[in-house]
Structure formats: C-alpha cells, structure tokens
Amino acid sequence: MASPCECLIASNNEKLARGLAELALAEAKRIEIKFSRYRSDNIVYKINHVSQSGIDIDNETADLLDFAAQCYELSDGLFDISSGVLREVWQFDGGNQIPSKEEIKIVLQRVGWNKIQWQRPHLAMRDGMEIDLGGIGKEYAVDQVAKLIKNHSPETNVLVNFGGDLVATGPRLNGKAWTVGVDDPSRTGEKTIGGVELTKGAFATSGDARRFLLKDNIRYSHILNPKTGWPVEQAPRSVSVMATTCIEAGMLATFALLQGKNARAFLEEQEIPFWICEA
C-alpha cells in the first residue's frame, strides 16, 4: 500500500481483536498482491503483458474495471486508469527534469481508456498500453477490510486507516465518535489543520504534498491530465472528502484535484463535507 496502515478495533476482547486484525492483514495483503503493478505474478501483470487479443478477467477485477469505467465517464475522461504510462516521462522526484512536448505526444498515444476494449469478462488493449489500479486499490482495500470485519463480527466497530484513506463502521466502545486529524500539507506529519469527528463513514485525502517537480519556480503537481499529458494546473495542495464509503470519498477527492483551480467549485457542487488546501 506504500503507506502506514492501521486498524483501530473497538473491543475489550483481546483475542477477538487479534483475530480480526489477522483477518484485516490477510485481506489487505491479498488485495495488494492481486492488484499491485510491481508484481509479475498477478492479474495486473497478465493484463499488461498479454497480447492484443486480450484476456478474460475474474469477477473481482472485472468489478473494479467496471467501476473505473464509470469513473472515467463521470470525470469526463480525467480519471483514467490507463494514464500510468505517463510516469515514463514524468518522474516526480522533487528535481527539475520535465519532458518535452514531443516526448509527451509519443507517450499519449498509449494513453486512453477509450482505446481499450472492455466487454466483461474480456479485456483487450494495444501493445504498450497499461492499466494501473493504484488510484482505486487502497480505498477499495479499506472498504473490503471493513466489510470483512463486519461480516465476521457484526457487533465490533472498527476504523480502518490505510495511509489516510479511512472508514469507520460505527462508534467507539464508549459510544463516542472517532476523532480524525486532517494533515497540514505544508507541515506534513507535524501539524493538523483541523479535526473531524467520525462515527460511521469514510474519509479520504488526495494531494500533492509529497510528490512534485520544481522548475523555474513553477511547481508541477504529480496529478497529470490524461488528455494533455501535462500536470493539472493550480491543483490544490490537498483535498479531503467525507462520504459513505472510502472508495467514494477517494474518488471525489481525486476528481476534485483533477479539476485544478476549479476544485473548490466542484466540491461545493457535490454537496458533501470537504476540506481543501488551495495552492
């Protein structure tokens, strides 16, 4: 998951809590292994290395692809799981190397969900194209883990937090809400800009606090527009959203970032609680 993951279990029963934690860990690992783009033995690798005739997909991955397809529609093409190849020309290491227009043009030919044939259960795409479920995977894992724990122990409430994307399934033992601090992006890890009380629901944050490029005093955020191949201009430093499920919260936060300077307007339009730190 590439970030610290924790599971807060509201229970007095240590054995139960340990058991649930084991479950959570197993499920998180399972999802990570299954959808990580760094492995060469999972469905994502197969998809990205199979020939142009494509491959048949299992139910769980198919559900994620269906969801990604819907997000592509809802975001007018700004959320695109095939945009990962752009990282070949953009390396957000805090340095000052930015690609040329030519390089971007060439890479863009291999980007575009509309160029992929997805008809459940079959997925086919051109050579050189890749899908990356990194933008959905972590939030999906949070929701799945919470669901699994709820199925096994309906009376036990938990807060599942994978690197700031979290969901709470109910209040704490004392009946009170969980208090969640919102990270201050300019003093990340040191300061919070506020706190949120969460009894039941999800909270996700997206931002560019840790990855960017700086050249000629212009800050290039790592949020790339898959249509142009360039970073989204004036993207907010961070966006946090509250919703029913983590995946919904995560997507809204991501969509907001992709709106660049219109992030706030977009968020207000959605009528959900949000926090934004503009650039």
């Binding site: 559900d63 029913t244 009528e271």
Partner: protein, 421 residues
Amino acid sequence: MTIIKKKRNIQKKLALASCTLLSHGATDVLAAEAEDWAIDGSLLHYAEEDRITVDKFIGSLVTNVSESDKVKVDLVFDTMSGSTPSGALDGAGSFTTITTPSGAGGFSASSGSTAIAKFDDTRLGVSMDWEHTKKRLHRINYGSSISVEKDYTSFGLNTKYAQDTSSRIVTYSAGVAVAFDDVRRSTGGTPEPFAKYNEGKTLDGGNRVTVDTIFGVTRILNRRTLAQLNFSSGLADGYLTDPYKLVSRTQLIDPMDPTAGFDEINTYYEKRPSSRQRNSIYTAMAHTTRHNNVLHMSYRYYWDDWEIQSNTIDFRLKFRYDDGLFIEPHVRLYDQTAASFYTFAIAQEEYGISGFPEYASADYRLDETDATTIGVNIGKTFPGHGKLRVRFEQIQWEYANSLFDVNKAIVLQVSYKKLFE
C-alpha cells in the same frame, strides 16, 4: 487549463457506482450460503443380477424464504420391475442344503415357480421440510412426507429441535417422527398368516404405526474436523408381515441323510410379530486432511427385539482437484445376524405335517447377511453453471441360510445441482 464542461453533481452516481463495486466485491467462503435457491436432480439406475431393476428420478428444491426460514421440497419417482425371491422353495428338492462356496446358488427357478415372485410397481413420493430459526442458536424443523404405490401408502410427520452453544462449537438436537403405513397386495387385502399359498382368507389391508426418536450431538473438534453421535430408538406396531412372502414346509428325502436333499411339502404365507422395537448408535466424522482431501467415516451399531444385531462401517475419501473436480472412492461394510424367527424352511421333522412356530419368515432380508459395497463418485463444479456428479457402486450381499446365497447389484447415479440468486 482544465474546465469542467458543465457544472454537475456526480456525487449520487459515484455513490451508486461505489456501492455496486462493494456489494459484488470478493466475499469470503461463508457467504456461499447466501444463494436463495438450490435445485438438485438425480437419475438413478439400480440393477440386481437377474432380479430387480429400479429406475428412480429424485428432485430436490431448497429455498431461503426469509432470513430465518428455509424450505425444502423433495420429489421421488420410482419404477421397479423384475423378480425377487419369495422365500418359498419350489417343487422337488434336487439340491442339497449345503450351499456352494462359489455363491452361484444351487437352484435355478423357472418362471412358473413360487420361489420367484414377479415384481412391477411405480412409486411417487413427496416430502417437505421447513426449518425455522426461532432465535439465534435455536432451530426447529417441521417435516411431512407422503409415498404412494400400488400396494403401499405411507404418510409421515416429523419434527426436530436443534440448539447450538454460544460459540457454535456444539449442537444438540432431538427429533421425533411418526409414520402411518397402509400395506396390501396389489390384488387387494393381505393373506391370512400361515394359510396355504393361494388358499385361505384374504384379510383387510394391513396398517401400521411407527414412532422414531433421535437424540444427537454434533461437535467441531478442530478447524478441520466435525463429529457426530446419535442415539435412535423406535417402535413399529401393526401389520409388519410382508404380504407377498412365503415360507415352505420341507421333508427330508432320507431322514438318515440330510445331504440327500428334501422335498417341499407345502407353501404358506409368512407370519411376523406385530411389533418391533429398534435402536441404534451412530457416529460419524468429516475431516479435511493435510492434503486438502475430505474424509467421511461413519459407524452404526443397530439392534432390535427381533434379535437382529448389525454393524455398518462407511468410508469415503474425496480427492479434490483445482478445477472443481473431485474423485471419491467409497467402501461400505455391513453385517447383520438373522431375526429370531427367520428360517430357511419349516421342517416337518420339527413341526410335523401341520404344526407351526410362533412366527416364521424366509425373507432373505432377515437372514444372517454380510454386505460389501465398493464405489466411486466423480464430480465437477462448473462455476456459475452448477455441479455434476456421476456415481457408480457395486454391492454384494451374502446370505448364510437362504435359497440364493448371493445377491449382486450395481448402482449408477447421475446428479446435477444448480444454485440461483
């Protein structure tokens, strides 16, 4: 610069998409029970060597009517034909009383003899069961069944109560069943017991009532093992005789030499007691081995007041393979002692020309018997398309003191099961 093409609220659509994703997300194995309907159907062919053949269709439907109610409906349709030993010894005894070890039987009956009874019948049976979860950990079952054929009708009711401990490691259950049977010959009525064959009065149809009870404990021993222990007891009262079965009176050809053979003097209808009290202790286990195969074993000890005692051992090992395929060999060993009133024939040397024991039956099914079954069951699950099973069994019964030493049968059963949302 990126501008949203038009201002719009996508939150609701996104929320819906998210819910869809999560509701279909990979769930763990225990959710497999969430299917609402299951239909299972079987065609079965049972054939004895030179005797009865039975073809059966069995169908079963199970559905979760609500969160706390499950209903099961079963249907059976049988057709039976062929012949079966009546218990009588036909005509002149040109055979010895010493059975041949090859088990070929020392006698071949022609179609006109009384030793073989022809058999032709169809049966229809329906049963229903309703399982109600009263409150968490407590379940009650109510069931009923009806079976109808030319010469037999049965109606039964049963109920069972089961309770789990809070950790769901142990389940205690108790059940009781009552059955009302009506038995008659296909030509009508029942024969007068011990009357001569084809003579004597025809009495009314026979009725009997059977009550059975069972108490059981099922326990999870460890993560991969489940075990059960049951005690059953039952009482049957009424007409327990078989209206077709016969018993012969014989006379030794040479009173000094039993091996010289005997003659059949007369043939009579059999007579059994009008009550039978039965008991059994049954234990079973299901275990997943380290190789991920499933072992099923069971043992039953049975005894009743007809002085029959019996042991049954059953053993299955299911080898499971990755693509949903399994191969399951099966062995069953069975033995029983003879009923106290079982007899090969009524000997004139003992009872004279016209005397009788209190009860007598030459029905081979009450004889001292050893039975062995070997079989294999092969099946495959087709994800989304159901589960197919094909089973082949070979059964052999050996009798200690009957006209025919051996009965062999084969069973072929093909079944298909499908689950529906």
